[in-house]
């Protein structure tokens, strides 16, 4: 199989050269990008910053894509010498971590090698890359997409998933076979063509094969299913400002490390509806997932080898204190949640809106455990529990209420105020080891932007986070004690000289830590130069231990102290 792939790859790469020699002088186009990150580490016992044996970390990625007509091929060269702290420590060395060839015509497209794919909202299959988190579950195999008629797409793929990197790509033990069909009724059927309502329907089936024999539970010896199927149906409807998306998925019994090797089937539902018109947008969502985590290796957990993607119900925050201290990630064993969000712009030139209008947004999002009953005896060992309904269970996982208002006061001055309230269950999403239970936190942010003179602007963020208090016995007396690490303040100053320079200073201060010696300033400065698509920045200072999240997936990043140099470029 490997030699066949090599041959196919070689042929696919040579073919366009041969064609170009025979048919026309053009030999195609190359584009690429580079991303490099170099960090140095100094010991800092106060913040718990460790120094790895290599004393430095270096991650780098270089992509090249060759395109000629309907053909394209690409590769990514990667280096982890040694990986920066917070990245999977097992990534080592330099080599090609991604390569593909693709041929695309009007009615079909074929890809060999690595590729990323998503069916619907990803609940049954999503291979994707979040490079900043070290997540890359690219497929490695073959994909064929057929477009037999207008509005109809049939995707099929067979492959393994990227798991590790040790100077070369290392794939999953499991094999993924997947099919997806999607039809847009308006494009496919003439009588729907002029309808005001647009409807897209889709269905997917994904199967994983992984060798396995038996597992023992109490006195039972149970057969592991070697082939596990997962499937889903979805619908999307649009009419003017109205939109609806619904997806329902199921998975057969899939004993794995996430569910304690129980044989319960998986089920999930995702609903989202929105309505918007100029100046106003409303969005509501519901999510229920029960044992729907699906991996191409049943023995792995956390970030390794997910086949599907279960989005978090909360939104991703951007302000430092709101984004990194209590970030919510989906509880993959099961959860139920809903959200509602309103965006509104008070019209410009009105009394409240001012000269340029005033933007407001409000969101409420919550997720809880499932409403379940634990099974006893043999059923308990084999199936774990039964779900009674899609109602919320006893344990709150997250309640996130946020509000912001922003206004441009003049050509040279803008301001924004944002408020966040979190009730965050650190047992469900273990973001801290200092507190077990529900942390109540309020975050206030004031952001201003001032234009100093042509091309020069100063942006400031003043942030404060206040945690709730618990009654605790201290030296024989009951006292109010701050939850977790207590209160924080952040000040950010960012001075930009458009279009080439930026300078920033960030200070995070844990002024309310219950432990006085932990009331530390984390000061970090950055200077950067931008030249079109090329960007170089140099930073120095302390980075606190925290959680870094993208798209509802989070990774813990250890505390560090030192230099960081980053360079990104596209061409």
């Amino acid at each position: 199989m490997r030699s066949l792939l090599k041959l196919a790859w070689t042929l696919a790469t040579i073919c366009p050269l041969m064609m170009s020699a025979q048919e026309e002088p053009s030999t195609g186009q190359i584009t690429g990008n580079v991303q490099m990150l170099f960090q140095t580490y100094q010991e800092d016992t106060l913040i718990g910053a460790q120094v790895p044996p290599s004393k430095t970390g270096f991650n780098a990625f270089g992509n090249l894509i060759y395109t000629r007509g309907d053909f394209s091929a690409g590769m990514r060269y990667e280096s982890y010498l040694d990986p920066i702290l917070g990245y999977p420590g097992r990534f080592r060395g330099s080599g090609i971590g991604y390569r593909y060839a693709n041929y695309s015509k009007e009615h079909f497209e074929v890809t060999i090698g690595n590729f990323y794919e998503q069916f619907g909202s990803g609940l049954v299959l999503r291979s994707y890359e979040e490079r900043n988190l070290g997540i890359d579950n690219a497929m490695d195999g073959f994909r064929l997409i057929l477009r037999p008629a207008n509005g109809v797409a049939i995707k099929s793929l067979v492959g393994k998933q990227r798991f590790d990197f040790d100077s070369r790509l290392i794939n999953s033990p499991g094999i993924i076979r997947a099919f997806d069909g999607e039809i847009n009724l308006n494009d496919a059927f003439e009588r729907w063509a002029t309808a005001g309502t647009r409807v897209t329907l889709g269905a997917s089936f994904v199967s994983r094969f992984q060798e396995g024999s038996t597992i023992s539970k109490d006195t039972l010896v149970l057969q592991l299913p070697q082939n596990v199927g997962c499937w889903g149906y979805r619908a999307q409807v649009q009419k003017g400002g109205f939109q609806f998306m619904g997806e329902y998925v199921r998975k057969i019994n899939d004993p794995n490390a996430d569910n304690g090797f129980t044989y319960r089937e998986g089920e999930g539902i995702l609903l989202n509806a929105g309505w918007s018109t100029k100046g106003l947008g409303i969005n509501v969502g519901f999510k229920g997932v029960d044992n729907m985590q699906f991996r191409s290796d049943r023995n792995l957990q956390l970030f390794d080898l997910p086949v599907n993607y279960i989005p978090a119900i909360t939104k991703q925050h951007t302000y430092n204190l709101a984004a990194t201290l209590y970030p919510y990630a989906t509880v993959v064993q099961g959860e139920v949640g809903w959200s509602a969000e309103v965006f509104y712009t008070i019209p410009r030139k009105s009394k409240l809106g001012g000269k340029y209008g005033t933007k407001i947004s409000f969101q409420y999002a919550t997720a809880s455990s499932l409403d379940t009953t634990n099974l006893s005896g043999t059923d308990g060992s084999v199936y774990g529990y039964q779900r009674n309904s899609w109602s919320a269970g006893e344990d709150l996982y997250i309640r996130d209420i946020n509000f912001d208002i922003s206004r441009k006061f003049s050509k040279g001055f803008k301001a924004k105020y944002a408020f966040f309230h979190f009730d965050f269950n650190t047992l469900a999403t273990p973001v801290t080891t200092d507190y077990k239970g529900i942390v109540n936190a309020n975050v206030h942010v004031v952001e201003t932007q001032v234009r100093i003179k042509k091309g020069h602007s100063l942006r400031t963020e003043l942030q404060a986070l206040f945690t709730g208090t618990d009654m605790k016995e201290v030296n024989g007396e009951m006292k109010e004690v701050k939850q977790d690490k207590g209160d924080w303040a952040t000040v950010l100053l960012e001075y930009s000289v458009s279009p080439h320079w930026f300078f920033s200073v960030l200070d995070q201060y844990n002024f309310g830590n219950p432990s006085v010696d932990q009331r530390v300033h984390y000061l970090y400065g950055t200077v950067g130069r931008i030249e079109g698509a090329h960007r170089l920045s140099i930073g120095y200072g302390k980075r606190r231990e925290g959680i870094f999240c993208i798209g509802g997936v989070c990774r813990a990043v250890p505390a560090s102290n030192g230099f960081e140099i980053t360079f990104t470029s596209s061409f």
Partner: protein
């Protein structure tokens, strides 16, 4: 492995290095219509400005909100069409339309939830803005946004309009 790598290197060396062109990728717009990115550029009457952004990216929203005030003048003077390409993934994809309508952008907005177009355009991170001429070639790009960057962009737009 060695043969494969050498072959690829040979292919890349033989290819001509020229201005980056917009590839043909099919994306959905906010009305659920399928849009081919290459066809969009070919059908445009003037230059096209692709702005990669996300609902969770503050500088991206600052950039597009600032352009919104200037867009009518830019259109009159240079004929430019702004296309805002959202890389919001399934977690936030459904927030895009309500947000865009609430702030009243007059741009065409495309959804790129698994970054197929972003990868093909060599986008490392957002915001990343590409100015594309009538031939579909990238003539200017910028990876970042700070207030005032629109002045450099405006000069580039005027240069393109004069050609």
């Amino acid at each position: 492995m060695m043969i494969r790598n050498l072959t690829l290197l040979l292919a890349l060396c033989c290819a001509s290095v020229q201005a980056q062109e917009v590839p043909s990728i099919e994306l959905k717009d906010l009305g659920d219509l399928t849009v081919d990115t290459r066809a969009l550029v070919e059908a445009a009457e003037g230059p096209v400005l692709f702005c990669f952004w996300a609902t969770w990216c503050s500088p991206c929203k600052r950039e597009l909100n600032n352009y919104a005030d200037l867009y009518p003048d830019w259109q009159d003077e240079t004929g430019v069409e702004i296309v805002a390409v959202s890389i919001d993934d399934p977690r936030s994809m459904m927030r895009v339309k309500p947000y865009v309508n609430s702030v009243g952008w007059d741009y065409k907005v495309l959804l790129d939830p698994n970054k197929a177009f972003a990868r093909a355009m060599q986008v490392n991170n957002v915001p990343h803005t590409f100015l594309v001429n009538a031939e579909g070639q990238v003539v200017w790009q910028h990876n970042n946004y700070a207030d005032g960057d629109e002045e450099e962009l405006y000069e580039e737009l005027l240069k393109l309009a004069e050609e």
